[in-house]
């Protein structure tokens, strides 16, 4: 094949790719041309304002800290759980429930979003019961403000999920003021034969996604 023919075919392929790329760019973001280049329209004066949508998840209460305690003698487990912004509950143990409340999540952005929660550990990772029993680590998402979140799991205790992406609790977390806040309650059942003794902790990742 002559080099000129090869060059011609290569040019055609690149042009096709370029047009495809430009088409996708303009389809996804019609303002990209203006952002990249900027231009002045003659004949008309006008104000051009581009408002981008964004998701911003804020945790105004970002820590559930139970402090130190032990299971009551003779019991096979103790159960501890937060109750929204009220008093937490301790059953069969001597942990203090003072100042232990649910995580408080707000959508501070300007678009509705789904909400998923991923943890770093599951119940067994957290407590390591030697008999692999009597251990739970669960979450319960409820609306702080009515209508903030919708989803099949709302109001139910659900085992935590440490796999990538976590569990979707809200299909549509609102962003409008007064309908954009939820609670994430946390429940522990601590086994009497826990292999992990002393201070235990976990990180919870809460992700909002406006793309669905």
């Amino acid at each position: 094949m002559k080099s000129e023919t090869f060059l011609f075919i290569l040019s055609i392929v690149i042009i096709i790719l370029s047009f495809t790329s430009i088409f996708v760019s303009l389809y996804k973001n019609p303002n990209v041309l203006q952002k990249l280049t900027g231009y002045v329209s003659t004949n008309y004066g006008y104000v051009n304002l581009s408002i981008s949508s964004y998701v911003s998840i804020n945790l105004s209460t970002d820590s559930v800290s139970w402090g130190s305690g032990a299971i009551n003698s003779g019991e096979t487990n103790a159960t501890l759980y937060t109750v929204r912004n009220g008093s937490a509950v301790v059953q069969r143990g001597n942990w203090s429930a003072t100042n232990v409340t649910a995580l408080h999540v707000e959508n501070m952005g300007n678009v509705n979003c789904s909400l998923s929660i991923q943890t770093g550990k599951n119940a067994h990772d957290f407590f390591n019961s030697l008999t692999n029993s009597n251990e739970q680590y669960m979450l319960n998402v409820t609306n702080k403000e009515s209508g903030s979140c919708s989803g099949d799991l709302l109001g139910s205790w659900v085992n935590v999920n440490k796999t990538s992406g976590g569990t979707r609790f809200c299909n549509n977390l609102g962003f409008n003021k007064d309908v954009n806040e939820i609670y994430v309650d946390v429940l522990f059942t601590i086994p009497y034969d826990a292999g992990n003794i002393g201070q235990q902790s976990d990180v919870i990742i809460i992700t909002g996604d406006a793309s669905g």
Binding site: G69, Q200, D202
Partner: protein
């Protein structure tokens, strides 16, 4: 001359095609970047708890009661022995063993522990009379398999004189349900010439410490 002109045109075309391609790629990349930032957001929460261990000893059967009796003549002593949860037996005497079962001790804490026991009397201080005709002994054995296992002491499964100072009878007493109970059986050899008569008793102190 003609060929040189043609080559120049080709070079210009190549440069223009690649420039076009580069611009389209930049637009495409910018679009993807801009689009992604707007649609996701995440926040991080934390949970933590401190789990303490507990040593807790429970005496589920705490009294060995032989009630009233006498030595059968012409024996010079009577032997009273407990047998776990079975009724006690009296040899050469008419004491009832109905309420004379072994003391049962359970580790209901959340960690293995050592176990030490002590009485307040010896055979001599319990009965008085002929030293050769009297005994006051205990015998520690597992009620549940493996309850007192690992680093066992020489006192286990052996009749030994009651010690008025704390004697370790179990180095590793298990805390797991179904493996955490032991018996302390007692043997009393009552001399015919006991100087202490009437209702006699002793107090057994049982203490658990973190196993080493």
């Amino acid at each position: 001359m003609k060929n040189n002109s043609k080559d120049n045109v080709n070079n210009v075309v190549v440069v223009l095609v690649f420039a076009f391609f580069a611009i389209s790629l930049i637009m495409f990349a910018y679009t993807l970047y801009d689009w992604g930032v707007k649609t996701t957001g995440y926040a991080t929460g934390y949970v933590n708890i401190t789990v303490n261990t507990v040593v807790s000893i429970n005496v589920t059967t705490g009294t060995v009661n032989w009630s009233s009796g006498t030595i059968t003549a012409p024996a010079t002593n009577a032997t009273l022995t407990t047998h776990g949860t079975d009724a006690g037996t009296a040899t050469n005497g008419n004491w009832s063993g109905t309420n004379a079962e072994a003391i049962v001790v359970a580790n209901i804490g959340s960690i293995n522990c050592s176990l030490a026991i002590s009485g307040t009397k010896t055979a001599a201080t319990f009965f008085g009379g002929s030293a050769a005709q009297q005994l006051y002994q205990w015998n520690v054995s597992n009620k549940e398999a493996g309850a007192c296992g690992g680093g066992e002491t020489s006192m286990k499964n052996t009749w030994a004189n009651v010690n008025t100072s704390a004697a370790t009878v179990c180095n590793q007493m298990d805390f797991h349900i179904d493996n955490n109970e032991i018996f302390i059986d007692f043997k009393l050899v009552v001399p015919y010439d006991a100087t202490n008569t009437g209702a006699l008793y002793d107090i057994i102190t049982i203490s658990g410490n973190t196993a080493v």
